[in-house]
């Protein structure tokens, strides 16, 4: 079984109020030195068989059409060992 992770993040120019809220909580924890927090999503896909180019192309299509909205988000795909 193979595992592929799709990471989706808001584009840098899009305001991320959720990340800002997390950032605002850091001070309350007494933490310093963290200058910015942005929040994203990860989708963990488990695939049958090996990850080949055809499979990766499918995952790219899924990531671009459903898992992310290209107007506001970027995605990245990475293979992980199960």
């Amino acid at each position: 079984m193979a595992r592929v992770v799709v990471d989706v993040m808001l584009k840098p120019e899009i305001l991320d109020p959720q990340g800002k809220a997390v950032e605002g909580a850091l001070g309350r924890l007494g933490l310093s030195g963290i200058t910015s927090v942005r929040q994203g999503k990860s989708f963990v896909l488990e695939l049958e068989g090996e990850v080949d180019d055809a499979r990766l192309a499918q995952v790219h299509e899924l990531a671009a059409s459903l898992l992310s909205n290209p107007v506001i988000e970027d995605y990245a795909i990475r293979e992980v060992t199960a």
Partner: protein, 223 residues
């Protein structure tokens, strides 16, 4: 005149939208997300709510509902479509309208009676308003911040496709105070505030919202 109102799992305002159609003098036709066709309606309203629980992104899963296939084709062919709140989000996710709606900049869900200015009366959904008319209708959203690239925003402004703008308060961080937009043809309109909640004095803050529904009915009669 038969105006379809689509119900998705999690739609909330389908009944109010259907009622607004009837108050304006039209026939409301219930459409189901699983429908394979549009039952020969003359126009469609995508109502507010939380389709598919707003999981993934608002409107992202509704976009792939069976009824959306024929709806997107018909809208591209000129069928009048009004998306309200979640319906606006569905229209953006379906690429019938440009841009996207993101989490309110305040992080708070906002529910208020909102002052708007009708910026364009050249769409089939706003022709019954006076240019520049100011109206008050309810607004209720958590993810109503309209965003698009500067190029797209300039294009919308330049082509007169900003349909309504927030006045006095920008409730959700929308770029350029945009509350609603239209496609280039003017048949598809998306709006974050809720005109269907302002059609009767008993339950609405005003009856200012009725104009969206009388506009389409008059437009269809003249067509």
């Amino acid at each position: 005149m038969r105006i379809g109102v689509v119900t998705f799992p999690g739609s909330l305002d389908d009944r109010d939208a259907a009622r607004a159609v009837r108050v304006a003098g039209g026939e409301a036709v219930a459409l189901w997300h699983g429908d394979a066709d549009l039952h020969s309606v003359d126009a469609v309203v995508l109502p507010g709510g939380f389709s598919y629980g707003d999981y993934l992104r608002c409107g992202a899963i509704a976009r792939f509902a069976p009824v959306m296939g024929p709806l997107v084709d018909a809208a591209n062919g000129g069928l009048p479509v009004l998306g309200i709140c979640n319906g606006f989000q569905v229209l953006c996710e379906s690429h019938l309208l440009p841009g996207a709606l993101v989490r309110n900049d305040s992080l708070h869900f906002v529910c208020r009676d909102q002052l708007l200015r009708i910026e364009s009366t050249s769409t089939v959904w706003t022709s019954d308003y006076e240019p520049g008319q100011e109206i008050v209708v309810p607004l209720k959203n958590g993810e109503g911040g309209y965003v698009a690239s500067e190029a797209v925003l300039d294009e919308l402004e330049g082509q007169g496709r900003v349909v309504a703008r927030y006045l006095e308060v920008n409730p959700n961080g929308s770029r350029r105070d945009i509350a609603g937009i239209a496609n280039a043809r003017g048949n598809v309109v998306g709006l974050m505030p809720h005109p269907e909640h302002a059609v009767e004095a008993l339950t609405g803050p005003t009856t200012d919202g009725l104009g969206f529904f009388t506009s389409i009915l008059k437009g269809l009669v003249e067509a």
